[in-house]
Amino acid sequence: MTQQITQPLDSSFRDPSGFVFEKDGTIYRQVNKIFRDDFDNFIGSGCYDQLIEKQWLIPHEEIDKNFTGSPGWYKTLKPQRVPYITYPYEWCFDMLKDAALLTLQLTRECTQFGIILKDATPFNVQWLDGKPVFIDTLSFERYDESKPWIAYRQFCENFLSPLLLMHYSRQPLQSLSSAYPDGMPLSLTRSLLPWRSKFSFHTYLHIHMHERLSSRSAGKENQKENTLLFSKKKLFRLLDSLYSLTNSLQWKGDATTWGQYYEEANQRDDYVLQKKKVTIEWLSQLSGTASAIDLGANEGVFSFLLAAKNMKTIAADSDHSSINRLYQKTKKEREKNILPLLIDLANPSSAIGVNNKERISFIERTNCDLGLALALIHHLSIGKNIPFGKIAELFRSLADQFIIEFVPKADPKIQLLLKGKKDIYNDYNQENFVHSFEKYFLVQKKQEIGNSGRTLYMMKRHG
């Protein structure tokens, strides 16, 4: 009988200490012999227990079995499963900031146990029950007090650079993070930051001076570097400086037109109330629905309805300010079931990285029990010129069942969309909408929303 070899996941290949693999639908992490000493020290020192108690690290159980059959095997870990993997370029400003602060807190805490974090990449942070959690159990190595922090530059490039650029420019620059998944080069950050950023002492040190000094010394043989001694006190100063700088950064982007959406929508008779009523009624008739995605979630009014039904809900929207506000709201209300994500449905996150397999595309990652698309179709169809057929194809890959709102062309909001542009949307009507969706879905329910002229549909994917 030939033994089945379990391969590492496409995202797990950089660190020789071990790798992540999937077997029978379960995620495992293998620790290699090469990392045995550091791993045993991490567990034995009490550092792991402390981080678990603080809920900063993903818990795992040890399995005494070599599933991969690899000769370098030392241990197999079965970490708690993260229900939905996200990437930093899908996070809003405050999510990236919280992930950065967690990374710094974790590094400081570990030094008490003679351990230090060897990586500072946001890809090692995921979201569990509304909070960021560190997932790479093999990033903790023995701390040598005489050596500086190996991940310092990585932190500056992966966390500090995008945060500073967004803070100063007041623009959502997540697409820059996806263009530079290994971190934004400091030379780029430095050239994009405004001149006044030099007056911020900590920004000057960690970006401007950092880039100047490292570009000057790069490539030169510097034997001095090996003899330079560091200390714990210096490390703490460095970490405290990074923490206070990161903590001081704020998203100050202008409120977008979507900011006041519900305020304005609520004034349209009892439109939102009626829509909520129908949605709640339909949701109460569902059973076995554990996961949901709210497309065009805005500030998550309907995502909270899904979360209240104990559904793990992805609240996706392309408007950064809305998602940032929603994240703040979920934090404040300690809502564990909502995961706000910055997703542009006209251009969802693609597969990137090595072999275009390292980071999985949004479509490939997403397969929920229920999808919500309220007051969204017309934005994709008329706002982005995407035909119904393509929208239906997209929805088919995202969820098994959908609640979709159809807005007729006569609606004032569509007339606003058409203002100043030629009406080439002859195919935009209810009949064509239903016809296109029926290719992939079965219409189960249909109900008009009060006197608004808008209609809600409940559809189920074929097969």
Binding site: P148, R153, G219, K224, R237
Partner: protein, 57 residues
């Protein structure tokens, strides 16, 4: 970009930079402490002065 930069592992190092940054932070911390000491001393002297004024009246 200079050619030699292409051969540098971006994840490693910045050792020299960190030593300098930590040094600069140390100097800043030193002056911050002096500033704090002067501020505290000033408030202490001021409180003594106002207390003695109150006692005299």
């Amino acid at each position: 970009m200079t050619l030699h930069l292409l051969y540098i592992d971006p994840g490693s190092g910045s050792y020299l930079v960190q030593v300098i940054v930590a040094g600069a932070l140390g100097v800043a911390f030193f002056f911050k402490n002096i500033g704090r000491f002067i501020k505290n001393a000033w408030w202490y002297v001021r409180s003594l002065f106002t207390r003695s004024q109150k006692n005299n009246t």
